[in-house]
Symmetry: C2
Subunit: 154 residues, 2 copies
Amino acid sequence: MVVKQLIRTPKELLQSPSFLLKRLGTIAKDRTVEAFDSAGATAYSYAVLAVLEEGTRETQATIADSLCYDRSYLVGLLDELEQRGLIERRRDPADRRRHVVSMTAAGRKELAKLRAVHESVDEELFAVLTASELKTLQALLAKLAAAQDPRYSD
Amino acid sequence: MVVKQLIRTPKELLQSPSFLLKRLGTIAKDRTVEAFDSAGATAYSYAVLAVLEEGTRETQATIADSLCYDRSYLVGLLDELEQRGLIERRRDPADRRRHVVSMTAAGRKELAKLRAVHESVDEELFAVLTASELKTLQALLAKLAAAQDPRYSD
DNA sequence: TATTGTTATACTCTATAACTATA
DNA sequence: TATAGTTATAGAGTATAACAATA
């Protein structure tokens, strides 16, 4: 019988935290895309709705900046959310160049649904860790993120 | 004086470990690309050289699989490394479809250089963590990665 | 002249498929 | 017929630039 040799990634790479971050980031992204796709949505629309829940006075520029999305990319996202009745765009009377974006009741309902999708991804991805390990990991990642970008600070 | 409001990513996302993994993975990738670019190389060629150091009997298929690269993508990488005299491709006499790939002395020298580049990325990226925190993080990420893909196991 | 939202364009990756030579 | 390496093609995703309206 031929025993197929197990192909491994080099130890040198596996011992590098940045390598692991890159690979795990990719895995997390793939899982997220898949899960939201099955729910007929995207991680992007979930993120936008999550921003809107924390304050309705947002304008498009601040929404894009808070998520590190390009402003031109946000346009298409909002178009779709508006078409589905999940958000509203209104001209700001004080500055008619601006749009004030707010979430509708339907949007809040959709957010709850997408939040559940996202939570299930987290649960599955980190199932191998104990509750205490996950807590530690979350804290370390948060500390790291905050150090890289002020947007990620508490 | 106008105090510009600090734009933050929603707490809901910052508390999600998978979201943090995705963002930190992207940051790690960007830093890596930048650092290798300045050194006139890529993270891909570093990874290939790192594989070759762990065993010279590798064939192209096993190299690609161990790094999760597409086999067709590996071709161009090897072309460049071969042109620069860092690796050698030889037909396997036992199966003339195969190429046996091995690293040259120049390749080993280049690997040492790229290893230093990669280490400096790690150092800078994780500078905010204590040695103990970094060790904990590395262990948790390794455990997580191993659970997702057998290639990442020890 | 600068900025907001928008539209259009270009470019980089990646994924797939097709091809050759060997088995 | 199947596989290793190679080449070519197509699609998705992203980044950049141009544009109209308003300040």
